[in-house]
């Protein structure tokens, strides 16, 4: 396959197909702008949420506002809470011998943790998730511009109510931050917070489902982590490499020749992160999940100025999930009556993941 291809689909766009180009283009903000991130471009144009759609150097102060609280120090402060919540969710499912992992766990843990971090009511989570899904995997029930508008208008009263507030949640931190020496406008504050919602409710959720589908269908891989839990940290990185879920892109900033190809200002290029982790030049035998590789090459969190600020939180949530799950439910498989299907979009997902296990093989880990 060539390193760069053009497709007439989704409005017409380039695609990078190798890890080398995908990681390079993510970081090369001068030639590849973040002004529009998604195809088709007519939809992507409506997704104007800072800091994701601002290029450096203007981008830097906006990004700094959303990374407080997502930092390793911020995540360490809530790690016990994440573990308690994970353990309690799994413990509730364990005696049943079955669950739909996507709805019973994957949509529960990250979203609950996240709603707690932004201090928004848990009962609002389903509608937020619905709006976000309309931007990442539209089902046709709402147009793209309306979904973004709904997120921003939902956030606006919350952000303004917290202006001047002393809370420790992410929204209070954002709205009271400064860009240079000025306060954020109400519009900027609501948009920044809407971007945080987009990042928080549809990413780890889907990653966890792909990961558990792997273990449910590869019992030897699960057994390795049950017997050697010290490998879980390395396993997290390998699973991030093997199951990237995001395919966003960049807008060509100006007419240029790039890698021997003539690109025109305004054209889009999609960077499917899955093609980096699965690039055999970067990761030999890329389809195989192995916890004994010497490399961990991937762009699962992007690269450059826009690299996912939630990466550390994501790693911690995945690690804790594996630690707490394997000590309680070491042997499990996909319900043979279930058909596993997937949906694609800017963020890919497993539609449903019915798992079964024998409660007699489980432990309360007490």
């Amino acid at each position: 396959m060539p390193e760069l291809v053009w497709t007439p689909r989704n409005g017409g766009h380039w695609m990078a197909t190798t890890g080398r180009l995908i990681s390079h283009i993510f970081a090369d903000y001068k030639r590849f702008s973040s002004r529009v991130l998604f195809v088709p471009k007519e939809n992507g144009e409506h997704h104007q949420l800072p800091p994701s759609t601002i290029d450096p150097p203007t981008h830097r102060p906006y990004r700094a506002l959303i990374t407080n609280g997502l930092s390793p120090r911020g995540v360490a402060a809530i790690e016990d809470r994440i573990r308690t919540m994970a353990a309690s969710l799994i413990e509730d499912l364990r005696p049943n011998g079955r669950c739909n992992f996507t709805t019973d766990y994957a949509e529960q843990l990250p979203v609950r943790i996240f709603m707690n971090m932004v201090d928004l009511p848990m009962e609002d989570a389903p509608k937020i998730k619905y709006w976000v899904d309309q931007t990442t995997r539209p089902d046709g029930t709402m147009n793209y511009a309306d979904a973004i508008a709904a997120l921003v208008s939902y956030m606006a009263p919350w952000t303004e109510a917290r202006r001047g507030g002393l809370g420790t949640d992410l929204i209070t931190g954002i709205v009271n931050g400064k860009v240079g020496d000025r306060a954020l406008t109400p519009k900027e504050a609501a948009e920044l917070c809407a971007q945080v919602l987009v990042g928080g409710v549809d990413t780890v959720v889907n990653m966890l489902s792909f990961i558990m589908l792997h273990f449910a269908t590869h019992p030897e891989s699960a057994r390795e982590l049950v017997e050697t839990p010290e490998l879980i940290g390395i396993a997290v990185e390998e699973l991030l490499r093997r199951f990237p879920i995001i395919s966003d892109g960049r807008e060509i900033a100006g007419d240029m020749e790039f890698e021997g190809v003539a690109m025109k200002a305004g054209e889009m290029i999609v960077l499917p992160t899955v093609l980096h982790g699965l690039d055999e030049n970067e990761n030999p035998d890329p389809l195989t999940v192995s916890f004994h590789r010497s490399t961990a090459n991937h762009s699962t969190f992007g690269n450059g100025a826009h690299k996912c600020p939630g990466a550390h939180l994501a790693r911690v949530e995945i690690r804790i999930t594996l630690e707490e799950w394997f000590k309680r439910i070491p042997v499990f498989s996909v319900d043979p009556a279930a058909q596993i299907t997937f949906s694609c979009g800017v963020v890919g997902c497993v539609d449903r993941l019915p798992l079964i296990w024998d409660p007699a093989t489980t432990s309360d880990a007490a």
């Binding site: 150097p57 120090r73 450059g304 600020p309 990466a311």
Partner: protein
């Protein structure tokens, strides 16, 4: 793989066998190295993962981009051996590198 040696602000050194592909900041954060905060997650925007690179390894590492240099020049304790560890990836060429972590992180 490369052995990375972090000299923490308290003077204690930590040796880590790091896998290729990670950034030095990720290696530090994932292994609980003291003194590297990595607050922005690796986006070259917070300047809290500053390290001084071992003089012997300067040539083994791609020089900083203009975007990184702009930020480096604004940090506490900047020298020509300063790098943001989120912008340097582990490779075999870094085997044995000593990274000295300053006692203060962040913008001056």
């Amino acid at each position: 793989m490369a052995k990375i040696i972090f000299k923490q602000p308290d003077g204690e050194s930590v040796d880590i066998d790091a896998r290729n592909g990670f950034t030095l900041m990720e290696v530090a954060v994932n292994n609980g190295v003291v003194g590297i905060d990595g607050e922005c997650g690796g986006g070259c925007s917070c300047a809290t993962c500053h390290v001084y690179i071992d003089a012997n390894f300067i040539d083994a590492i791609d020089p900083p981009t203009e975007y990184e240099t702009d930020l480096l020049e604004c940090i506490v304790g900047y020298t020509e051996r300063s790098r943001l560890s989120c912008q340097v990836k582990v490779s075999d060429a870094l085997d044995g590198i000593l990274l000295t972590i300053p006692s203060d992180q962040g913008l001056a």
